[in-house]
Structures are given as structure tokens and as C-alpha cells.
């Protein structure tokens, strides 16, 4: 087993050599900075224009109660029918909506944003990095 581990470490190091060259010289190497996906907005951009967005919180009730973006209304896909009427009523026409969930790994904001876009009340964005990115950006 020890021999296999030593061999595995050697192979790991061996692969590091061409990978390093690839990271530096490959014409199609990835840019290591995080790009915005289609329909996403960065917390920094939102903070530069405060008050110009309609906020939708796609997190569970407990997390919302612990803290949320001022003025944000809760809306999740699980509770869509109960919560969507109040959201649609509060959403000022042509005001961009920003939907967020807990972090970069959560999927709820994407689903809620997709369904909100179907109403054509204004642009709908997903906050990149969610609540985590929002609180981090505010500390800066």
C-alpha cells in the first residue's frame, strides 16, 4: 500500500509539470477570475446603485428571519403559489429585480428568477454569490 501511495504521489507531481505549462502558455487557458454568467449581477454593482432594485429572497424562512436585504420579499419555488401574489403586487414595473439565495452553491435563486422572468415585469437578475456575497461586499 505504501508503494502504491509513493507511486501515486510521483504521478501527481508528474502531471503537475504539463499542467503548469498549460496554465501559463495554453492559448485556451482559463482566466482564473470569476466571470458573471448570463442573468447574474455582482454584489458590488448592486451596492453602487442602492435602492434601484426590487429584492427577492429565495432562502428558507429561518434564514430570512435571521437577516435579509432591507425591503426584500421572500419567494421560493416550494411556496410559489402562496408567496407570488404579494411579490407581484409589490414589484414596481420596470424596476430590475434581484433574486438571491444563500451562497454560490445554492440553486433556488436561479429557479425563482427564471419563473419571475415569465411575468415580463422588468429585468430579473440573480445575485452572484447570494446572501454570502452581499454580506461580504457590505463589509468592504
Amino acid at each position: 500500500m505504501r508503494g502504491a501511495l509513493n507511486q501515486a504521489i510521483t504521478l501527481l507531481l508528474l502531471a503537475l509539470v504539463p499542467a503548469t505549462f498549460s496554465a501559463i502558455f495554453h492559448p485556451k487557458r482559463p482566466a482564473f477570475s470569476d466571470p458573471l454568467r448570463e442573468g447574474e449581477i455582482a454584489a458590488g454593482d448592486v451596492l453602487r446603485n442602492p435602492g434601484q432594485f426590487f429584492w427577492v429572497d429565495a432562502r428558507p424562512d429561518r434564514e430570512y428571519a435571521e437577516g435579509h436585504v432591507p425591503g426584500a420579499l421572500r419567494l421560493t419555488e416550494d411556496e410559489w403559489n402562496e408567496l407570488v401574489p404579494s411579490v407581484l403586487q409589490a414589484w414596481p414595473t420596470d424596476t430590475p429585480a434581484v433574486v438571491y439565495c444563500s451562497s454560490r452553491q445554492c440553486e433556488n435563486s436561479t429557479g425563482v428568477a427564471r419563473r419571475l422572468r415569465e411575468f415580463n415585469l422588468g429585468p430579473v437578475y440573480v445575485l452572484k454569490g447570494g446572501w454570502e456575497a452581499w454580506t461580504r461586499a457590505q463589509k468592504k
Partner: protein, 149 residues
């Protein structure tokens, strides 16, 4: 099954599995930026780490695939390949469970239209083959040591 047949089957398996990894790694190494996007789509890693994986993983597959096919550092290569396959399996199953509408990127752009469940099946088949290779290799090694005594 006699020792000779077992050895031949193990060698064929090694060539097939090693070849699959060399092919898959080479396709991804040709376009590391695309593979980094594929890794990022699983939303399991921070983006810079997904980029690092996008660059490193294809070369690790090529190196391990070549080691397996040529019979160099075989135990180490099977250990790493099993680890890579288990990692892929976890990523695929969690993506499936989270309902992510993505493709696995296992064979670079050519896997664009494959379903996640098909990738899971291929992953499990490769993992089975790697385990079999490891088992037969250790049995052959045991026989060789017995003969040498």
C-alpha cells in the same frame, strides 16, 4: 480461469481503460478553459479552484492512463484513477440530485449531448474495470513472489 488467461484479460482491460483516460484527458487538455467551465457548472468548487482543476485534471488523466496502459507504476495509477472516478461519481450524482441541467464534460466538448445518468453508468463501469485490474495485478504479483521463493 488459469493464470495466463487472467493475465491477458487484465492486459486488455489495462489498455482499454488506459486508452479511455488518455483520450478523455487529451480532449479536455486541448480546451482547458471549456473544461474549467464544465467543472464550475457543478457548483461544488470556488471558481479559481474549478479553473485549477480544469487545467490539472486532464493531465492527471493522461499521465495515469499512460501509466496504466504501459504497466508503469500500476498500483499508484489504479489508486489515483479509482480516486478520480469516485470524485466524478460524487459530482455527477449530486448534480443529478440537485437537478442541475448540465453535461458532465467527461470527454470535453464531444460529451455535450450526453445525459448525466449515461455518464454515471460509464463512470461505474470504469470504476469496476479499475478495481478488477487492481485485483488481478495484485494476484499476479502474489504468484510471482511465490514463484521467486
Amino acid at each position: 480461469m488459469d493464470a495466463r488467461t487472467e493475465k491477458v484479460i487484465a492486459m486488455i482491460l489495462r489498455l482499454i481503460v488506459g486508452g479511455v483516460f488518455i483520450y478523455a484527458g487529451a480532449l479536455k487538455a486541448l480546451d482547458p478553459a471549456q473544461f474549467a467551465v464544465d467543472v464550475d457548472n457543478f457548483r461544488l468548487l470556488p471558481y479559481p479552484l474549478a479553473c485549477a482543476m480544469g487545467v490539472y485534471l486532464p493531465w492527471l488523466e493522461i499521465v495515469c492512463g499512460a501509466a496504466l496502459a504501459f504497466g508503469i507504476f500500476r498500483p499508484g495509477a489504479t489508486l489515483l484513477l479509482a480516486g478520480i472516478l469516485i470524485g466524478f461519481l460524487i459530482a455527477l450524482v449530486t448534480a443529478w440530485a440537485r437537478g442541475l441541467d448540465i453535461h458532465c464534460g467527461c470527454f470535453g466538448h464531444s460529451s455535450g449531448k450526453s445525459h448525466l445518468w449515461a455518464s454515471v453508468l460509464l463512470d461505474v463501469a470504469l470504476l469496476g474495470a479499475v478495481c478488477l485490474i487492481s485485483k488481478t495485478s495484485s494476484r499476479t504479483e502474489g504468484r510471482r513472489q511465490l514463484r521467486n521463493r
